[in-house]
């Protein structure tokens, strides 16, 4: 391994170092502020190092990791989101007795996500998935020792643990079958072998393996019918963990899935297209329908994330290696928009809540417009972006998806998209309307103040991002087009 290759791994190394240092520091002296700062700093340094290595991107580092522009994009997205979550966690966690280890878990989970985003080999992919999941078990159950905290952290954590383990089992079994058939676990060499494997003796193995692996991935992305854990886990977890699950958890998985499908050329096969299309349509319709009647915002956002992953999956079908394929770009843009917006929505919720009082019910947001116009404006912008209304980045994302659909002539998916978006409008608007309703005095209202400058500044940055990218998406599109080019 050359120094250049090591330098390419700098983001991963720096995040690991941050985790170790934070752990040591906690052993010496417990300080909430210091561990938060340390983690944020480590993540920020990793982000900066990414710019340093940008010129030498595009290299296979060990057989396990492929560091290229695609990986660079996801690394930046993941790190940026992780920094946001770290900083948002500080006020949220401040009334816990021992909040320090939570930041440790954030760095570790981020590390797992980074490995997933870089892997082009099943070993590293599996490693990444496990690092991420195991850290998340801890994050989800973190405020367990506080009786008044998030209502069901233990239930959520165990549910996630069990179901996640099952899905991991699926993936592992699929891997075993694949290995038995092809003798390799590297994405790119599966391609050549799979061509024979799909027709030759024992081809049933290959089919079963693909199905098992896809099912495992679909579980992590909470696609219908593998979505059942999502609302419960979202609801039971403390908000920073929910936000992590909803943003980085999804982004890393999408990166892995895209890599897998592109490098193995499975995306082009007819069976895969059918399977993905069915998953997408089911997720869009079921996700939106189930979100309709939720009065808990976390559950609502959980179902809405199911639907959004469905939209994203549509673009996956449009992916191929041709030069001007819109699919890759659509995925990257839609995912960025989704992560940005979801982060903003959870950011507002985190500011309204703290670890002792989870404000996730619709009632808690009644009249927010008149109590705290600033937070309500941000929240409204985020919800409108999720609904895909112009002036926000969500609209451009939806535009991309429709272009991808039209280009591939998937008309029945278009019908699903239109229906789903129509339903989606209703429940996003319901939340907005709640915030517009007049205040009633009798409710237990959270204190909203400008006591913490940093998270409000972060919210401002997110709002700015949502609007600027909605009005002038060219900045991001140009960059994404380059990334998409480099993938071919």
């Amino acid at each position: 391994m050359t120094w250049e290759q090591i330098s390419l791994l700098l983001p991963i190394i720096l995040v690991s170092a941050a985790a170790v240092l934070t752990m040591l520091m906690i052993a010496v002296k417990r300080s909430h502020a210091m561990s938060c700062l340390m983690t944020a700093l480590g993540l920020a340094l990793a982000l900066v190092s990414l710019f340093a290595v940008a010129p030498v991107l595009q290299q296979q580092v060990t057989p396990l990791l492929l560091i290229d522009a695609f990986n660079g994009f996801f690394t930046a997205l993941i790190l940026l989101t992780a920094i946001f979550i770290t900083l948002f966690s500080y006020p949220y966690m401040s009334n816990l007795e021992q909040p320090q280890e939570f930041y440790l878990l954030i760095s570790l989970a981020t590390l797992g996500a980074l490995v997933m985003a870089g892997s082009n080999h099943f070993v590293s992919a599996f490693l990444g998935i496990e690092i991420l999941s195991v850290s998340l078990y801890g994050m989800i159950a973190y405020p367990l020792h506080r009786p008044v905290a998030a209502q069901y952290p233990l239930e959520a954590s165990i549910k996630y643990l069990v179901l996640s383990a099952v899905s991991t089992g699926f993936i592992l079994f699929g891997l075993a079958l694949l290995y038995a058939q092809t003798g390799t676990l590297s994405f790119s060499s599966i391609t050549a072998l799979a061509a024979d494997a799909a027709t030759g003796p024992g081809s049933a193995y290959f089919g079963v393996a693909s199905v098992l692996i896809l099912a495992g991935f679909a579980f992590k992305l909470s696609l219908v019918p593998f979505h059942l854990w999502t609302p419960d886990v979202y609801e039971g977890s403390p908000l920073p963990a929910t936000a992590f699950l909803a943003t980085i958890g999804k982004a890393a998985m999408v990166a892995l899935l895209v890599r897998f499908l592109l490098l193995t050329d499975i995306a082009g096969t007819e069976t895969a297209v059918t399977v993905i299309a069915v998953l997408a349509a089911a997720s869009i319709l079921a996700g939106n329908l189930l979100a309709l009647l939720q009065s808990n915002l976390k559950r609502l956002l959980a179902y809405s994330s199911v639907a959004h992953m469905g939209y994203l999956l549509i673009a996956l079908i449009g992916m191929d290696a041709s030069a001007d394929a819109i699919g890759q770009e659509a995925i990257l843009f839609y995912l960025s928009a989704y992560v940005l917006t979801t982060m903003g929505a959870f950011g507002v919720m985190m500011l309204v809540s703290d670890s002792g009082h989870e404000r996730d019910h619709l009632n808690h947001y009644q009249g927010l417009f008149w109590r705290s116009p600033w937070l309500a404006t941000v929240f409204t912008a985020m919800l409108l972006s999720l609904a895909g209304i112009p002036l926000t980045v969500g609209f451009i994302g939806k535009f991309y998806i429709v272009v991808a659909i039209v280009e591939n002539g998937l008309w029945w998916l278009l019908a699903a998209l239109v229906t789903g978006s129509g339903i989606g409008l209703y429940y996003y608007l319901r939340v907005i309307y709640r915030m517009l309703m007049p205040l009633t005095d009798t409710m237990d209202l959270p204190e909203v103040s400008l006591r913490d400058f940093v998270p409000h500044a972060l919210l401002f940055a997110l709002l700015l991002g949502v609007i600027i990218l909605g009005v002038a998406p060219g900045i991001l599109i140009d960059h994404l087009a380059e990334v998409a080019q480099s993938m071919n």
Partner: protein, 499 residues
């Protein structure tokens, strides 16, 4: 740059109005009116161009900048005679809406004028955008502020009405988006690059069924907004629940964006399909005229009644558009302008009544002429304008529409003309019920007309109504000044379709 300025002034004005609400609650309305006046002044600078011989050219303004090069999307604006008329209508009614909100909106006035100005900014964008992506962008931008106006300052059933308004327009908007993207994609297939440019898209050739489907995407979106008979059910709710200024904007301006979309996009972009579809469109137009006139007659809620008459009048607009000849189009444009004024005025009157009597139920009104002579006189004038009395703008519009449609389809024209009879019936019925006869409970009871607490029109209100009276008389007496302005634009649109 003029269009950018028009829109920017309103966007910035809206933000300023919102912020200034914290300083003093009357500051926002001054800022709003100031922003609108600046816009009118900007538009007036175009008029000299008009007289210096440029009148024969279609476009007064054409502007184009890069926006999203990846998809060939431009910031492309154009103003022709048609747009110019619509812009003047928009800004004029914007000022009127401020006037009608002047004393009605006390709570959160900063945010109210913010929404008002942003709605108008979206509408101006719709009337000037020549890039279809940009057009759609503004098409949606005007919705959210309008939703907020209904949802925050509306009446008792506002949640339902606002949601219904939003869902109808937004879902039909999704179809429009899909249709636009299909069109742009076929352009990229045929020409090799993505384009949303109005002029370039006219060159796209689609085969019959496909053209019809894409055209229907456009038609449904515009028809929902207009609204056209089976898609109209959002309108009575939205109108009756919106605050007065909201109703004024909805009836006067937002409905016109649908008609404008049909004239500018739905027909010229798909000439063949539109020709095939014309008989269907004209038929539902006539059904709309008659059916909604009948429904209007059945209402007790005065705002709902006016809302149904709006749908009925918009049927004439649709009829004129799909007749697709110069007379029909001129008639449609005149009807849009005249209905914009008369419906806005009627909604203001209804709002004024509600403000004074705290009810919209006509059963509880009656005999108001004695107490409110000025208001009653205005109501009579605008009702008569709405029913199509010769000498006022609405008559010119509907008459031209019928003339135009007669050349295309006699039977439907004859049936549509019956709408004029029904219009007289319900208009006079309202006058009879509300202003004549003996008083009922609300007007004599706790509402307090008898005790003399209800005041007649104030100076400000009188000023607003007078301006609209002048506008309608002008349209009725000297329509040529409007027809001259829109003719080059309509000729050019017609030229693209009729061989």
């Amino acid at each position: 740059m003029i269009v950018i300025w028009l829109i920017t002034v309103l966007f910035v004005g809206g933000l300023l109005a919102w912020l200034s609400g914290a300083i003093h609650k009357h500051l926002p309305r001054l800022i709003a009116v100031a922003a609108l006046i600046v816009d009118v002044a900007l538009l007036l600078t175009l008029l000299p161009d008009l007289n210096t011989g440029a009148a024969s050219a279609q476009w007064l303004v054409l502007e184009k900048w890069q926006w999203i090069p990846r998809f060939g999307i431009h910031l492309q604006f154009g103003i022709d005679g048609l747009s110019l008329l619509m812009l003047f209508l928009t800004l004029f009614l914007g000022v009127i809406a401020c006037g009608s909100a002047w004393s009605e909106i006390d709570e959160r006035s900063g945010f109210f004028y913010f929404n008002l100005l942003w709605t108008l900014a979206g509408v101006i964008g719709v009337f000037t955008a020549l890039d279809l992506f940009l057009f759609f962008f503004f098409w949606e931008v005007m919705l959210i502020p309008m939703y907020l106006i209904i949802a925050i300052w509306g009446h008792e059933n506002r949640a339902y009405a606002a949601m219904k308004f939003f869902l109808f327009t937004q879902i039909s908007g999704l179809l429009l988006l899909v249709a636009i993207i299909c069109l742009a994609w076929f352009h990229s297939v045929q020409m090799g690059w993505f384009s949303f440019d109005y002029f370039e898209l006219q060159a796209v050739i689609l085969d019959g069924n496909l053209e019809m489907l894409v055209m229907l995407g456009f038609f449904i979106a515009f028809a929902t907004k207009l609204p056209v008979f089976p898609l109209h059910s959002w309108l009575p709710d939205a109108h009756s629940q919106a605050p007065t200024a909201g109703s004024v904007l909805l009836a006067g301006v937002l409905l016109k964006t649908g008609a404008y979309g049909l004239i500018r996009f739905a027909v010229p972009l798909f000439p063949e399909a539109a020709l095939t579809f014309a008989p269907v469109a004209m038929t539902i137009a006539v059904i709309g005229i008659l059916y909604c006139a009948k429904l209007a007659f059945a209402q007790n809620d005065i705002k709902r009644l006016i809302a149904y008459t709006s749908v009925s009048h918009m049927g004439f607009v649709l009829l004129g558009i799909y007749a697709w000849n110069l007379l029909g189009l001129q008639g449609a444009v005149m009807t849009m302008l005249a209905h914009g004024l008369s419906a806005a005025a009627l909604f203001m009157l209804a709002g004024g009544l509600q403000h004074r009597l705290h009810t919209r139920d006509m059963e509880q009104m009656g005999g108001l002429w004695a107490q409110l002579p000025k208001m009653s006189a205005m109501a009579l004038f605008f009702s008569i304008a709405a029913l199509g009395m010769p000498g006022l703008g609405n008559f010119i519009g509907e008459f031209l529409v019928l003339l135009g449609a007669f050349q295309e389809n006699r039977l439907l024209t004859v049936l549509a003309a019956l709408g004029l009879v029904l219009a007289s019936v319900y208009s006079l019925w309202v006058i009879q019920k509300v202003f004549h006869g003996t008083g009922h409970s609300a007007s004599q009871g706790a509402g307090g007309i008898a005790s003399g607490k209800v005041s007649d029109l104030s100076m400000g209100e009188l000023l607003c109504y007078s301006a609209m009276v002048i506008g309608l008389v002008w349209m009725g007496m000297y329509p040529q000044s409007f027809l001259d302005l829109s003719q080059p634009a309509l000729d050019a649109l017609l030229g693209g379709v009729v061989p």
